[in-house]
Homo-oligomer: 191 residues x 2
DNA sequence: GTTGACAGTGAACGAGCGTTCACTTATACT
DNA sequence: AGTATAAGTGAACGCTCGTTCACTGTCAAC
């Protein structure tokens, strides 16, 4: 039996991603197939010694690194190492990485081709944050003549306009006002 | 006082995203500024009545929708609605949406321009899943002559080759074997 | 064969949990 | 003024939690 630890840890991880919380010792009894809580206690003790788990101030198991976190390897040209047992890898949590202000963050689907030269294509998902203002060069979702579009926001002096990232469209110079709706934080394309 | 519920819920959400678990009633006492657990009890009762929370079989608070989930609005041309109080919005969890097999999923940074015509550019982050095989048309990370690259995987009959998404590079026809390392699941670009 | 380490059982214990009860204070409506 | 409704206090209660203790079986080492 190579490494019992990882098997137990995998079951805990699986429980966590289903229930969004850590299992209690009684629940782990069922999870591991034990009939005694003490058996669980000893297993957990080893997981902690191995640095694969932690407890909080209530004695409850805490989600540590590797719960919701994904190994962040180097670049594409480096490829994937054969074994990823190494704990010296950096790890990232998608939510923490992409979402700053959760309450004002939304997701939208892209449905035009006006930002194609910025490599944002139809069908992509965009993560945006509600805002009324933007800085020059940011990509925004704005309302122009009652219609919403995604464009580069440009500002020079007190002159503002919108610029598509597609040569076949023209920049938009607002006559009166320009209602910024949100600024782009991230693009997500799923395959 | 417009809606006390949302304020309390926001504090719980904040606690959850920091501690990756729900607060206990005692912790909520501190969180809300109460000196009695019963005050918390009544607040929680209302949150449940309002459908903003649930309890599990232990009586503990459960993370419900809206914990780690982001409102998924329509398309960009639809813009962002003024109020998002409506509970009829679809919501998505980034992790659940993007990660299928957590144990074999990794993140890499893109560092070439060979996939630029597929709108994957230098600096993008890619979510990949370790694999030895792929289907025709999928984007893969493969090893060719000791070097790793990201390319389209092509297969016709028993002939396989790699195809860049950039006219200035040539397709790669492997002489002996072709080591597929991983297949692309998603592209993430952060601004 | 004996010993020691390890893994698991089963029962017990204190602590903290969620919950309930009785009571007080404040707000709003007749 | 009088009264209902809601919000908060503080103490109590049972239940489940994590933890501990004593014990049994198993396997390897010497």
């Amino acid at each position: 039996m190579p490494n019992m630890h990882s098997e137990h840890q995998a079951k805990i991880e699986s429980f966590y991603s289903q229930n969004k919380r850590m299992p209690t010792y009684s629940e782990m009894m069922g999870l591991f197939g034990f009939r005694s809580k003490n058996a669980v206690f000893k297993v957990v003790e080893k997981l902690i010694d191995a640095g694969l788990a932690t407890k909080d101030h209530l004695g409850r198991l805490m989600p540590t690194q590797a719960f919701g976190e994904i190994p962040l390897l180097g670049s594409v040209t480096a490829g994937l190492p054969a074994t990823v047992e190494e704990e010296l890898l950096e790890r990232v949590n998608l939510d923490d990485m992409l979402i700053e202000k959760k309450a004002s963050t939304f997701m939208l689907e892209v449905d035009g081709d006006s930002m194609i030269d910025a490599h944002i294509e139809k069908g992509d998902m965009v993560l945006v944050e509600r805002a009324n203002t933007a800085k020059d060069g940011q990509i925004v979702i704005a309302e122009v003549d009652g219609e919403f579009t995604m464009k580069y926001f440009r500002k020079e002096g007190n002159k503002v306009w919108l610029e598509p990232a597609n040569k076949k469209y023209q920049p938009i110079y607002p006559e009166h006002s320009l209602n910024i709706n949100a600024v782009l934080k991230a693009v997500i394309r799923k395959y």
